[in-house]
Amino acid sequence: MTEISWSGTIAQLTELALAILLAPLLTGWVNQCRAWLQNKSGPGLLRPYRLLRKLFGKDAVIAHGASALFRTTPYVLFGCMCMAAAIVPTLGTDLPYAPVADAIALVGILALARAALALAAMDIGTAFGTLGARREMMIGFLAEPALLMVLFTASLLSQTTSLATTVETLSQRDLAIYPSLAFAGVAFTMVSLAENARIPVDNPATHLELTMIHEAMVLEYSGRHLALVEWAASLKLFVYSCIGIALFFPFGIAQGGDAIGLLLALPALVVKLAIGGLLLALIETLSAKMRIFRAPEFLGTAFLLAVLALLIHAFLES
């Protein structure tokens, strides 16, 4: 393990603070783009911040019979997402915190968050919560192997599972066509759509519908708990977008911890996130929500693409 430098610590803290503060903005941007694409005026970019402020100002109502699990889950969720955001390199690759967890542990952290939320949803004992939790676990167990395969493909290219080192290798290589990375990119997009409760798998705008997954799990939350859950959901979208950017479009990321590089990396990241959000809104507008029993096929295709990426890398590019 390398020595922890001051610049590294500052970069790490900046990155984490940036992730926490920018995450609701990304959600707002995606919603705004989607509204524009659907010829609506849209709720405005700052709507998620206003929602968070409103929710933090309200009292939390907790159902009778709710255990401590239900009350601690929002904090676990938010903590997991902060940890994930700290591992993923967004501005620079010199992250003192990064050796704590590699790409596999990152998937584990995301799984922990999912398991905690599913358990909390079942804890109350309402039909909707249980239904949502079961569906979420089904989507999760199908999406995880595909996500791991995508990360393994990137790891094979750089010969390490450490995310920061992988991104450093990827951003330094010569410009070349890697079919394996293209396949992995498509697979990753499909996995992120499923994991972030986006349209082909789940509808983030729906409320009180039989088809919902994520919303069904958080129905019983209110006040500051709901605020944390919503914030964690925004952070999850942010983390997934940043993983995608770091693995497939790492150009412009700062090498090491020099301040100028970090300053230049910030506008690059914002532009890339804006384009990513627009593409997400476009995908959501163009596709229809599929039946829940089609989700295994959708995620099976993602897994297939990820495995193909791995195979093509192993046989063609080595």
Binding site: A182, L304, L308, L316
Partner: protein, 223 residues
């Protein structure tokens, strides 16, 4: 070798086209709708044409341009048009039935790809062409087309599987030896054309006899 592109970039573009071909093979395997299946077949032919023409350009083999032109005319334009007409005339726009469900088929497909890559690796090490790495992909595409023929119960998708297999064989020939001799290529093109015409006649015969294109009915034809 032309000076415009470096050898590494030529190899990368060939690999990219080969990967797209493999992806299209999987897409055909997963496709339920028969009309989309025909479009995917046309797309596969188009990628084959691109890669043949590109290999011809990169290696200076003029006869590959001719085979690319045959591919374009026959497999991208003419055969899909014939198949579209057949579908309309036979009125068989229904979803394709598969014998095993699609995710399982795709998983079997992955196993076939691993098998093909392993089998092709020693062979491709012997070849001296720039395209040798893609032999594994060509073999995998052949096996996937085979799998598609096995898992479909209707006659039209089986024929499309057969045509896809011919596409991949063509690709394998380009990968291993820069294409077959011109006479052989012309012969195969003619064979495919005649084969389609005969199969089209068969389609009408089968439908007239059973009111369906499900080839399971053929098992009843025992004396």
């Amino acid at each position: 070798m032309t000076e415009l592109l470096s050898a590494a970039l030529v190899g990368q573009i060939i690999n990219m086209l080969a990967s797209v071909l493999l992806l299209l093979s999987f897409a055909m395997l997963a496709q339920r709708r028969i009309l989309s299946l025909i479009d995917l077949f046309a797309a596969q032919g188009f990628v084959l044409m691109l890669s043949t023409a590109f290999v011809g350009w990169a290696t200076g083999q003029v006869h590959l341009y001719v085979s690319a032109a045959i591919t374009l005319g026959l497999k991208v334009l003419f055969l899909p048009w014939v198949l579209h007409r057949l579908i309309r005339r036979l009125n068989v726009k229904w979803d394709v039935e598969t014998l095993i469900n699609i995710p399982t088929t795709l998983l079997v497909g992955i196993v076939l790809v691993i098998l093909a890559f392993n089998v092709a690796q020693p062979v491709s090490q012997l070849a001296g062409t720039v395209t040798r790495g893609t032999l594994g992909i060509a073999l995998a595409a052949v096996l996937l087309a085979f799998l598609m023929m096995i898992t479909r119960s209707k006659a039209v998708p089986q024929v499309i599987g057969f045509l896809a297999m011919e596409n991949s064989l063509f690709f394998a020939a380009t990968a291993a030896t820069y294409g077959m001799p011109m006479v052989v290529e012309l012969g195969i093109a003619l064979d495919v054309l005649v084969g389609i015409i005969i199969l089209a006649v068969f389609f009408f015969q089968i439908r007239e006899r059973f009111d369906s294109l499900d080839i399971r009915h053929l098992e009843k034809l025992k004396e």
